[in-house]
Subunit: 131 residues, 4 copies
Amino acid sequence: MDERFALAERILRAQPFSRLLGTRLLAFRPGRAELALRLRPEHRQQNGFAHGGVLAYLVDNALTFAAGSVLGPEVLTVEFKVNFVRPARGDELRAVGEAKAAGKRLAVARAEVYDGATLVALGQGTVAAAG
Amino acid sequence: MDERFALAERILRAQPFSRLLGTRLLAFRPGRAELALRLRPEHRQQNGFAHGGVLAYLVDNALTFAAGSVLGPEVLTVEFKVNFVRPARGDELRAVGEAKAAGKRLAVARAEVYDGATLVALGQGTVAAAG
Amino acid sequence: MDERFALAERILRAQPFSRLLGTRLLAFRPGRAELALRLRPEHRQQNGFAHGGVLAYLVDNALTFAAGSVLGPEVLTVEFKVNFVRPARGDELRAVGEAKAAGKRLAVARAEVYDGATLVALGQGTVAAAG
Amino acid sequence: MDERFALAERILRAQPFSRLLGTRLLAFRPGRAELALRLRPEHRQQNGFAHGGVLAYLVDNALTFAAGSVLGPEVLTVEFKVNFVRPARGDELRAVGEAKAAGKRLAVARAEVYDGATLVALGQGTVAAAG
């Protein structure tokens, strides 16, 4: 297995919150990360859709891993923004993060979250190299 | 008990994701909502701090409840932005949302998340009346 | 000339602020708008780079025109976010906006601003159909 | 005159874009900056309101000056978000920026733009110490 992927997966598994939610790493290469999460009843809000907090979490992690693929494994997410564009009703969410620009200390990444083939959320954020 | 508070609490309790995280409603009045969440091991990331997704969830819910206090109980969060300003290490997080402007269909709210007396995250977002 | 392009150009020319800055419409089709602005001395900040306000203006207008291409000509920009990723030093800025999701009332769009071939700013925002 | 105010005013006057728009510094003290701009016909969009780009410029500058009051005079704005909450129809806009959190390298600030007593835009953003 690719070493970078294996390291990224170890970091994801070292996040208790990601284990609680059941997030899996699908892909990790320079500039890009993909995550998946199987929607369970406890991920939903009062109308049965994925809670916005779950979508925001996925945007956050997809941005951060994508930026980490270019800045290195020790990163801090500075900020992000998310737009919710459609309720997520399905069984599995997939989040794709891409680094769009990177300096030594800061990178900007974007992320999209899909419910099957449907775009449900879009984000953009800033990640800093730690230390 | 105040009826508006009771309704807001019923909505919060009807969110399985909020029950999973253990969120409690502390205050709810026109233009303002306060939430609390006791940090448990499963809310943390790989360095032992609250995961950014937990802070983003709190910003999202604080904004949405604050906006719902002026728009009515049926709302959809359109988007929000969050800045993480300090790692959250403590036992209990408190999120304060305030509606800053509201029309018939859209409201803008801000939220702050505190770890004890320390500001750890700030957000701003847009909420729409549903239907 | 394409009628939609002509209408979009009339709207752009009807904006005194866009005339002040010298913005030109390069392309306009469903889901996409491109604008250009020749950087003049009065567009700069104290170090000779394009002022962030000029880049933010371009993000705003590119988002709004891209969303207007799907929502119709009467739109209001609800909010947007911009990341500045590199100083803009050149002669000509180009902004590309793309609608990423649209309902009846709201659309989400993204924009990038280029200085020649260099990405200098990225944005994401929400636009509402007026009325 | 206060030396910090005088320095901030020199920086504002050294921005050709701020001179083009006619921005004035009203107040500058640790953690806070206030700017004003008299709305002229060339600041407007097609319906006679202040162009969103003018409001975004004011948010940008108010955030940046407020953050600069704590980080020092050499700063770069990393990103910001703005919500437009009401059309600005009046004669004079006033923008208030406040630093909300600051480390050595990064500060987070918020800004509000008023048209007379009416809140017309709200922003939040990240500013970095240069160098």
